[in-house]
């Protein structure tokens, strides 16, 4: 039933330079497609309506959303800008590999619970606690953060990209990506002092991944080391 020769060829293919080059294109396209799809749904638009608003075609919008836009197909920056304008989002967000749709939805879900008023500590620690709970309960995390231990506890510098998106902004979002997990998110947030960033920081030091590094508040133990959520 096993085909060792094919499996070996697959492994060789995955290690090849050609694979890596195209893989990065397709990965970028998947992230882009999810963002276009998600924001189109937020605005309750069809692909045709978005195409018309962005002066494009339904076929191109469909290809972009479905991440089937080939690396050999050229697409101009002006079209991307028209799509971003039509979706009422920042073009930099649309193209940033640091930002993904499901993390965007997570922040959009947490935002109203804080009356959209949050400091950097709440901004970083609340996804951490949610990811920790979901990893324990369901085996995966919602956000695209790769947490490391820094001064103020679990941290990922991608937070700055999200912060610039959410600072002084509110979003009305159709939750396509996290809708099945809102109960788990609520559970994760229910026992936390979500409006007190300083307490969240202190509590983050009491979590298992931080304890494993021996991290203490004000100390340098495990500095910059990756936090393993799924042990």
């Amino acid at each position: 039933m096993h085909h060792p020769a094919t499996t070996k060829k697959l492994a060789e293919f995955i290690r090849s330079d050609g694979y890596r080059e195209k893989a990065s294109h397709y990965k970028r396209m998947i992230l882009l497609g999810e963002k276009i799809y998600g924001h189109r749904k937020d605005l309750n638009m069809t692909q045709e309506e978005l195409a018309k608003k962005a002066e494009s075609t339904q076929r191109i919008i469909s290809q972009l959303e479905n991440a089937s836009y080939g690396s050999e197909q050229g697409i101009g920056q002006d079209l991307y800008e028209r799509i971003a304008n039509a979706l009422e989002i920042d073009v930099d967000y649309l193209f940033s590999d640091k930002v993904d749709r499901k993390t965007f939805e997570l922040f959009s879900y947490i935002g109203p619970k804080l009356d959209w008023q949050w400091d950097i500590m709440q901004f970083m620690k609340l996804p951490y606690f949610v990811d920790l709970e979901l990893t324990k309960e369901l085996g995966f995390q919602i956000s695209n953060f790769e947490y490391v231990r820094l001064d103020y506890g679990p941290f990922d510098k991608k937070i700055y990209a999200y912060r610039s998106l959410f600072e002084d902004k509110k979003y009305n979002v159709e939750f396509s990506f996290i809708k099945d997990f809102t109960d788990a998110i609520d559970k994760a947030l229910s026992n936390l002092p979500i409006k007190d960033g300083n307490k969240l920081k202190i509590l983050s030091y009491e979590t298992e991944p931080m304890r494993k590094l021996g991290a203490t508040l004000g100390g340098k133990e495990g500095w910059n080391e990756k936090l393993v959520l799924n042990d």
Binding site: K22, A23, I30, E34, Y37, S62, F140, S176
Partner: protein, 143 residues
């Protein structure tokens, strides 16, 4: 999350698709593998629009890849939560139900629906037998 697949006897197994694409179309193979990896990174949760839950059997999902203007390749999978695995089952292609397709109407439509249902039936049956045939599945060599 680790990804498992098999080269089972029927020609629509995921392993057989890999064999075929290694020979015929490495670009499409790459596109499919990025989708699988992306979904696996998200714990197998089917994120739209590239993956969706399948009708019928709760827990079965599909990863969708456009083959052409009006044809979709669909890979059926499920998540084995106990073993923390994403398990790839079978694949099939079907006309895309978009505005350019008339393959869901009349006799052609009935034929399409029948073929889709047969493929889903295979997925349901592979999933049902999976726990008894764990040794048929192997780890996908992503790393």
């Amino acid at each position: 999350m680790d990804v498992y697949f098999s080269y089972s006897a029927h020609t629509l197994s995921f392993g057989n698709l890999m064999e075929k694409l290694l020979v015929d179309d490495e670009d499409l193979l790459n596109m499919i593998l990025q989708r699988i990896r992306h979904i696996a990174d998200y714990g197998g949760n089917p994120t739209p629009p590239i993956a969706k839950p399948l009708r019928g059997d709760i827990g079965l999902c599909e990863i969708r890849t456009s083959l052409s203007r009006d044809e979709l390749l669909r890979i059926c999978y499920f998540v084995d939560r106990e073993r923390k695995r994403m398990v790839l089952l079978n694949w099939f292609s079907k006309p895309d139900g978009g505005q350019h397709s008339n393959k869901y109407e009349g006799n052609a439509g009935r034929k399409t629906h029948k073929e889709v249902q047969e493929a889903i039936d295979i997925a349901v049956s592979l999933k049902a037998e999976y726990a008894e045939k764990l040794s048929h599945y192997e780890l996908f060599p992503f790393t």
